[in-house]
C-alpha cells in the first residue's frame, strides 16, 4: 500500500532549480535510499517531503491526501513525518531527555510524568539509558545522533526521513547509528534515507533511487541498481564511491 | 593735508585713552586687574531679571548691573573701561586662574565658600521667599512654619535655599532638587512640588512672569536666619583687588547709593508678608 507519493515535485531557489519534477512512490514499511553526488537534490527533496521547504510545483500525497497544497498548515504534517539531520540539531540548552520531551509536551499537551515511561523505554532501546540527563555537548557525535532519532520517534511519526545522518560522524561512530536504523527497519518503520553508505543501502533498502541534477535518473532494487546500472551517469557515480 | 589731520585725530584719541588709563593708575586698583586699566566683570549666562535686564549688563539696567557699574566707577573705572564676561557657578569656584576680576550672580557668602574663593563685603541682604501656586493656597497653605512643613518642597540645588529648607522649614517629605530655577518652575507646574524657596527678587519675578498662577506666599527676612543670606562679589582667592572692591562697597553703602539702587530695581520686594 502506498504511504507517500510524489508527483512532479519541483523546487527552485531563485534561478537554481533543485528538484525538477520528481516522481516517487514509497510503500508502507518500505525503506527507500536516495543516493547521488552532493548537490544532486537529495536533502532538498527530503525537506520538501515534510514541508520544511515549500514545494513550488507538484503534488505530495500522504495516505492519498495532497499535503503540498499551498496555504495548508504544515504543522500537522510535520508531526506525522519525522526528520533527522546530518548535524543532529539538538537543542544545546536542554538535556537529552528535555530535547526528546519538548515536542510531545507542547504539541500533544502531555505531561512529563505521563511521558517518562515510554521515553525511558526509547532511550533504553537505543543504549542511551545512562545519558538521559546529559547535555548535548557532553555526548559523543554518535550518541547525539541517536538522541536526535529518539527525539523524532517520540512524536510517533508514521514516516521517518534521514538526511545523511552519518556524514558528520567519526568513522568508528557510524556503526552504532546504522544499528539504530537497522532496528527501526525490523520494527517496520517507513523510512527514506539520503545516504552515502552504499553498503548499508545495498544490504537493507527495498528501493534505491539515484538522483542527478534534480531528477531521479534511475531507480530499482539495490541488487539490480548496484550491480547492473542502466545509465552511464549511474555507473560513473557508483565507480567513484564504491 | 588730509593725512596729517587723520594722524592728529588718531594721536588725540590715543592721548585721551592714555589719560583714561592714567586716571585708573592713580587709584587703588592700579595694576591689580586682569588687563591694566580694564575691569572685567562676570555674570551668569543668561543673567535674569531683575538682576540684569534683558540679559544685557552693559545697559546698566537691573540691580546687579547697576551695582557693578557703581562699584567700578567708585574704583575709578570709566563705564567704557568695564568689560563683561559670562560664567557658570562651577566655573566661578573651580581652582586656577579666573578670567574675571569679580563675578556677581547672587552668590551667597558662606564660610565654606570663603575657604576656596574671596568674597567682597555684601552688596545685598536677600530675604528667602516661599513661592507657590494659587491651588496650593486654596488648599489652605499659609505663611506659617506649621503649614509650610506639610508641603512638598523643591529648590535650586546649588543655592542656600537647600540648607535653609533643612534648618528652618524642616519639611515632612524630602525636598526635590533641580539644576536651575526654570526646572523648579516646571516641577511646580507639573504639580510634582507644592512650593519652592528662592531669594525674594527671583521669587517675585518667577511668580509674576514665568507662572500663570504663581504666588509669593511670604518671606523669611534676612535677620530671621542665623546666617542671613548676603550676596557678595566673588573673586579669586587672595585677589589683591579685594581691598579696593571692599572700600568701594563700604562707601556705596555709607552714602546710600546701594539703597537707592535697591529701591530702583527691587522695589516690589517690600510688602511681601513675613513668615511667622
Amino acid at each position: 500500500m502506498t504511504k507517500l507519493e510524489l508527483q512532479g515535485v519541483t523546487k527552485r531557489f531563485g534561478e537554481n532549480v533543485v528538484c525538477r519534477g520528481i516522481d516517487l512512490k514509497i510503500n508502507e514499511g518500505e525503506m527507500v535510499c536516495l543516493i547521488g553526488a552532493s548537490g544532486s537534490g537529495k536533502s532538498t527533496l527530503l525537506r520538501c517531503m515534510n514541508l520544511l521547504e515549500p514545494v513550488d510545483d507538484g503534488v505530495i500525497l500522504l495516505d492519498g491526501v495532497d499535503i503540498a497544497e499551498p496555504g495548508l498548515d504544515p504543522q500537522p504534517v510535520r508531526q506525522r513525518i519525522g526528520i533527522v539531520f546530518q548535524s543532529f540539531n539538538l537543542f544545546p540548552h536542554m538535556t537529552a531527555v528535555e530535547n526528546v520531551m519538548l515536542a510531545p509536551r507542547r504539541v500533544h499537551n502531555r505531561t512529563r510524568d505521563d511521558l517518562l515511561p515510554e521515553v525511558t523505554e526509547l532511550f533504553t532501546r537505543f543504549g542511551l539509558a545512562d545519558r538521559m540527563d546529559h547535555y548535548p555537548d557532553q555526548l559523543s557525535g554518535g550518541q547525539q545522533q541517536r538522541v536526535a532519532i529518539v527525539r523524532a520517534l517520540a512524536m510517533k511519526p508514521e514516516i521517518m526521513l534521514f538526511d545523511e545522518i552519518t556524514s558528520a560522524l567519526d568513522p568508528e561512530l557510524v556503526g552504532e547509528v546504522l544499528d539504530v536504523l537497522r532496528r527501526l527497519r525490523e520494527a517496520g518503520m517507513t523510512m527514506v534515507l539520503a545516504t552515502h553508505e552504499m553498503g548499508f543501502a545495498r544490504e537493507l533498502a527495498d528501493k534505491v533511487c539515484f538522483l542527478d541534477k534534480g531528477v531521479i535518473l534511475e531507480e530499482g532494487p539495490p541488487a539490480q541498481l548496484f550491480s547492473d546500472p542502466k545509465q552511464e551517469r549511474t555507473c560513473a557515480f557508483l565507480a567513484r564511491v564504491l | 593735508m588730509k593725512r596729517t589731520l587723520t594722524r592728529t585725530a588718531t594721536s588725540a584719541v590715543a592721548l585721551v585713552l592714555t589719560a583714561g588709563l592714567a586716571l585708573a593708575g592713580g587709584h587703588c586698583a592700579a595694576g591689580k586687574t586682569l588687563n591694566d586699566g580694564i575691569l572685567t566683570i562676570a555674570t551668569g549666562n543668561p543673567a535674569y531679571y531683575p538682576w540684569v535686564m534683558d540679559d544685557a549688563p552693559e545697559s546698566k539696567a537691573g540691580f546687579e548691573a547697576a551695582v557693578a557699574y557703581a562699584v567700578a566707577n567708585r574704583m575709578g573705572f570709566e563705564d567704557a573701561n568695564v568689560t563683561w564676561v559670562r560664567s557658570s557657578f562651577d566655573q566661578a569656584i573651580q581652582p586656577g586662574a579666573k578670567d574675571f576680576d569679580f563675578n556677581l550672580q547672587q552668590f551667597s557668602i558662606t564660610e565654606e565658600r570663603e575657604e576656596i574663593v574671596d568674597f567682597s563685603l555684601p552688596y545685598y541682604s536677600a530675604a528667602m521667599a516661599v513661592i507657590t501656586r494659587q491651588p496650593v493656597v486654596e488648599n489652605g497653605a499659609e505663611a506659617t512654619l506649621a503649614s509650610l512643613k506639610g508641603l512638598l518642597w523643591g529648590a535650586h540645588a546649588s543655592t542656600t535655599a537647600v540648607p535653609m529648607l533643612a534648618e528652618v522649614v524642616q519639611p515632612d517629605a524630602e525636598p526635590l532638587l533641580y539644576g536651575d530655577n526654570a526646572d523648579v518652575v516646571e516641577a511646580m507646574k507639573a504639580n510634582q512640588i507644592d512650593a519652592a524657596l528662592m531669594d525674594l527678587p527671583t521669587a517675585l519675578f518667577t511668580a509674576a512672569v514665568l507662572m500663570d498662577d504663581g504666588v509669593v506666599l511670604g518671606q523669611f527676612p534676612p535677620e530671621r536666619s542665623e546666617n542671613p543670606d548676603q550676596f557678595g562679589l566673588l573673586m579669586e582667592e587672595g585677589n589683591p583687588l579685594k581691598e579696593c572692591v571692599d572700600a568701594a562697597i563700604a562707601e556705596l553703602t555709607e552714602d546710600g547709593t546701594l539703597a537707592a539702587i535697591e529701591a530702583e530695581w527691587l522695589a516690589e520686594a517690600t510688602g511681601v508678608p513675613v513668615i511667622e
Binding site: 539531520f85 537543542f91 | 565654606e112 576656596i116 543655592t159 526635590l176
Partner: protein
Amino acid sequence: MTQTDLEGPAATPPGLTRRQVYEARIRRRSMRVAATSTGAVLLALFILIPLAPGWEGVKKSFFNADVFARTFPGLLEAFLLDVAIFAWSAPLIFLLGLLIALCRDAQSPALYPLRLFGILYTDIFRGVPVILVIYLIGFGIPGLGLPRPWNSPYIWGTVALVLTYAAYVAEVLRSGIESIHQSQRAAAASLGLSHSDTMRFVVLPQAIRRVVPANMNLFIALQKDVALLSFIGPVEIFRQAGVYKSLLANFTPYVGAALIFLAVTIPATRYADYLMNKQARARS
C-alpha cells in the same frame, strides 16, 4: 652577557627542559620591564603633578580630606536611591526590550505593523539623548495634569529610563535571536512545534544566554545613567554631591561620588569581560 648565555644551559636545573628554561628567562625579563615602566609612570604621577603650580589649589578643591570625610556618608546614603531606581528599572527594561525584540522578529504579514513599530521604536529611542527623554517625559507627562502620586518624578523618570534602555536591550536581544542558527528553528519546526513555541523554548533561551555579556555592559551604563534622574528632582548621589559642592564651594564630593560609582561598576565590568572571554573561548 655572553657569559650568562654560555652558562645558561650548563646551569639547567634538573627536570626542566631547555624550552622551559628559555621561557622562564623571557618571563623574568618581561616582568622586570613591566615593573620598571609602571614604576616610572607612578613616579611621574606622584612627583611631577604635585610640582605643578596649581596643585595646591586643585588638591584643596578636589581632594580635600576634610570635605571628603564630611560628605561621604551622605553620598553613600544618596547612592541607595540610585541602587533602588536601578533595581526596579532593570527588570522592566529587560521585559520591554524582549517585547520590542519579538515585535521586530514578527514574520507574518499581519504583524507587519508590530514590526514597523519595533523598528521605529528602536530608531527613535536610540537616537535621542537619555537626558532629553527624561526631561520630556519627567516634566511633560505629569504636566498633563495627572493627580498625585501618579505624577511622581520617580515614576516618569523610571519610564524614561526604561523606554530608552529597552531600545538598546531590544537590539542586543535581536542580534542574539538572529545569531541562533536556522537549523535550530528547522529542527523545532520538523517536530511540529509552532512558531511561538519555537521562539519561547528553543530560540530565546539560547539567544538570551548568548547576549548576557552585551547586556551586562548596557546595565553598567544604566547604573551610571540613573544619576540623570536628578535633573527632574530626585536627590540621588549626583545631586547630593552637587548640593555639597555648592554649600562648600568644593568639588571633592564629586570625587567621592565617582569613587562610589567605581566601586560598583569596576567589579561589574570585570565580570562582564570575564563572561565575554569565557564565551569567546567556548566558541573557538
